[in-house]
Amino acid sequence: MEMNDIECVLEGILFASGEPVPADRIALTLGVPKTDVYQAAHALAHRLEMEKRGIRLVVLGDTLQLCSAPEYADYIRQALEVRKQPQLSQQALEVLAIVAYHQPVTKLVVDQIRGVDSSYTVGLLQDRGLIEACGRLNVPGRPLLYRTTPTFLRAFGIASLEEMPPLPESENGEGDSPEDWVQVKMETPL
């Protein structure tokens, strides 16, 4: 069997499998030495990479596998994503607003401002890459602090946090910044 033929059959077998295939099983099937299979595998891998193709061949120990080219991962994910991502809910927007205006802020503060537990929504916003943990507050329990991310800026079409509309004075009078308020609340022994 010609080396080029081995390459082609190898490609067909690895494609149909999808999973890693032992090199010696391929050698057995084609009736060629295992070294030929490896040689063909390396040649094919090289060619796929050189031509910047959508497929890559990887050698994993004694097995060979085809996989999609990692550089196209974003396109692939986008094209194959079945479930459409839901838009932010009213609650999620509220939590995001609190984090955005009071960052860095703990979940406890978010809970206190909203009056309900916001664990799920905080997790969701983290998952969506809109907020992220950025250290811990130096109080007992060392709770995580959250802040908004560049994804947040992109989603809301602003270049920096300074572009956020200011909170109206009346609603948030001087000296009554939520940080102070929280501070007080946390220090208040129950």
Binding site: G18, S68, I76, Q85, Q90, L93, E94, G129, F156, G157
Partner: protein, 272 residues
């Protein structure tokens, strides 16, 4: 169907080609099926005219065809009359006609399908066997891709502020469940009461009957306390502890109110 054109060529044939007709009914069915007409729409005069015109064109007038036509025309008349006069129940003739029509079409469809089967088989053979691969598992990326107006955020913030300011709904005062607190004293009393009724108590049962962890803790502490003051003794077996009332109270200070209340009150024949 205002003006149906009945294409008679290929339907009415010369004698030699007539094998596919059995009788007038078949001929009607052919006419109907080929022209896709509803029985109700049959315009006998139209068929007649066209039929005659067609026959005119035939070089040789075949008597058999002519007689068949007469039969057909009368058949159609009969059906049409019955349809017009029937009350809707007596339509067996029509039923028969329609089911025959369907049968004919069915056979026609099947015959057509059968003609392409061989071609299809060849196509499948030529296409050969191809294998597809299972989908790759792609780790999900949940990064948010929608865009919002920044003012949405301010609005969301205001909403919280408003919710905070609005007073709690009136008329329905909040009720909180009362926390259940077990006092060691009460537990000790309970245990002594049990002992006075049953003579002994198994630790495992006492614990099992406890409703919560705090109650278990209360039971343990009560037992320890009763032990300390010498009110009870216990015997340890393989996997349990059996508690007894101490045979003779030791000469130790008795915790206030524990023994008196436990043995008095609701236990009429106490140990005293």
């Amino acid at each position: 169907m205002d003006d149906p054109i009945f294409h008679l060529s290929g339907i009415v044939r010369t004698k030699g080609e007539m094998e596919d007709f059995v009788g007038p009914l078949s001929l009607i069915l052919q006419l109907l099926s080929k022209n896709k007409i509803e029985i109700r729409d049959i315009s006998i005069s139209l068929i007649l005219e066209q039929y005659l015109a067609y026959l005119d064109n035939l070089a040789a007038m075949d008597l058999e065809i002519a007689s068949e036509f007469v039969a057909m025309a009368s058949y159609l008349m009969l059906i049409k009359t019955k349809m017009l006069l029937s009350t809707g129940e007596d339509v067996s003739e029509l039923d028969q006609l329609i089911s025959s029509l369907e049968e004919l079409k069915r056979r026609d469809s099947y015959a057509k399908i059968k003609t392409v089967i061989i071609t299809l088989r060849d196509m499948a053979e030529k296409a050969g066997v191809t294998y597809t691969k299972p989908p790759e598992s792609i780790p999900p990326d949940n990064t948010y891709r929608y865009t919002h107006k920044i003012t949405d955020l301010l609005r969301a913030y205001r909403r919280i502020a408003q919710a905070e300011e609005s007073p709690p709904p009136a008329g329905r005062p909040f009720t909180y469940p009362k926390p259940i607190v077990y006092s060691v004293k009460d537990k000790a009393r309970e245990i002594l009461h049990t002992l006075s009724l049953e003579g002994s108590a198994r630790m495992s049962i006492l614990v099992k009957e406890a409703g919560s962890r705090t109650e278990v803790v209360a039971i343990f502490v009560a037992i320890l306390e009763l032990c300390r003051v010498g009110e009870i003794e216990f015997i340890e077996s393989q996997d349990d502890v059996t508690i007894y009332r101490a045979a003779a109270p030791l000469d130790l200070p008795v915790p206030p109110d524990t023994p008196e209340e436990a043995t008095g009150g609701d236990v009429p024949n106490g140990n005293e």
